[in-house]
């Protein structure tokens, strides 16, 4: 019997920057669909949402011929297609590590599109374990992580613990079998190669603003 070929996954071929843009396109298409728009040209999409038309065509070309020249993209079809590409046609079950202010804010966050469902939240503080979030999820002790991940089929972990605890918590998350982690704690974290870690870094965004203010200040001096 021949060895099964190691297939390259889409994730190997498509950059993270492209994936982020697909999310943005999907959001724009959601708005168009809500406004009753049926087809849209890349130029119109670009002009309306401040995007780059050539970039849109290039990004979508990765995934086959999705538009018709002179007509544009079928909004509904492209939405469905993007949702499939982004894996949003199934619901990803999410667990939150840390039931402090940030963890509770994430548990209630209304901005998660369909495609994500927070199903569990964990902490180590006895005063927090057993409490319920506004949406009715009971805070569990982190000792129950592995068992809960298996039972609830959790795919994604959000790390909302203090920086000093983050690496230990990430190690537990990896050991529980979760392969996708979104980290909100400041500082660098290590994960094995088969696990995908993304960090949401407020400080880098803040420093972009600080740079803007500083150069605005300098630019306005005589």
């Amino acid at each position: 019997m021949p060895e099964p070929e190691k297939r390259a996954t889409l994730a190997d071929q498509v950059s993270e920057a492209t994936t982020s843009r697909l999310s943005v396109y999907l959001r724009c298409l959601d708005q168009l669909a809500e406004a009753g728009v049926a087809t849209v040209a890349s130029n119109t999409l670009a002009a309306r949402f401040g995007l780059n038309a050539a970039q849109i065509r290039k990004d979508l070309a990765h995934f086959g011929e999705l538009g018709v020249r002179g007509v544009g993209y079928d909004v509904e079809k492209l939405r469905r297609h993007l949702r499939e590409i982004l894996g949003l046609d199934r619901t990803s079950r999410v667990g939150i590590l840390g039931a402090g202010n940030l963890g509770l804010a994430l548990a209630d966050y209304s901005g998660f599109r369909d495609g994500f469902e927070v199903v569990a939240i964990f902490d180590t503080d006895p005063a927090k374990v057993g409490r319920r979030t506004r949406r009715g999820i009971t805070v569990r002790h982190i000792y129950e992580l592995r068992e809960t991940v298996a039972r609830e089929g959790i795919h994604i972990a959000l790390i909302a613990v203090p920086a000093t605890a983050a690496q230990d918590v990430v190690d537990l998350v990896v050991a529980s079998g979760i392969k996708a982690i979104l980290n909100f704690a400041p500082g660098a974290l290590r994960v094995p190669p088969h696990v995908k870690l993304k960090s949401v870094d407020f400080t880098v965004s803040l420093e972009t603003l600080s740079f803007f203010l500083a150069s605005d200040r300098d630019g306005n001096q005589p």
Copy 2:
């Protein structure tokens, strides 16, 4: 008398992607400084932190000759220089709009580097106004925004209100004279051209993970 020339600011010449990378370099240099490293070559910096050496050299070249060929960058000098470029040599005073879980989490966030100080937090809920955050900042009513911004010299606003209230709150923030806004509410917001708005979008990051999981799943299927 001649018209004063309209000087292009640094922010006009340097892309946001570059600014974000400068923040990342600064963080790496902070770690090197802490470890007692005095000089570092771009190749070493790149290898150690998973960055691109050519990109580092190109980014830093925007700001004059900062390294010595064959020796590398003086860690302390480059840190100081990057802090100046990013406007971190002065403290930016930050106001938070919204004293819910997210606003309180941001008020306590330990990841903000020196260079930022949260000095005020606002809400409209009478049950929240007058309370104090863990770090001792009293929640004010948003009616006091304009006066507080002027008195406290607030430069940056963080928007941590529900999506439905976000545009109204941003309009108040702009009217109060603030020119830099970091938004955590989902959805698009409008600001006038002289105001810089950055949004922290958890959903795009989550969708990158969902894409990774989906293509991992498909790639592993026979």
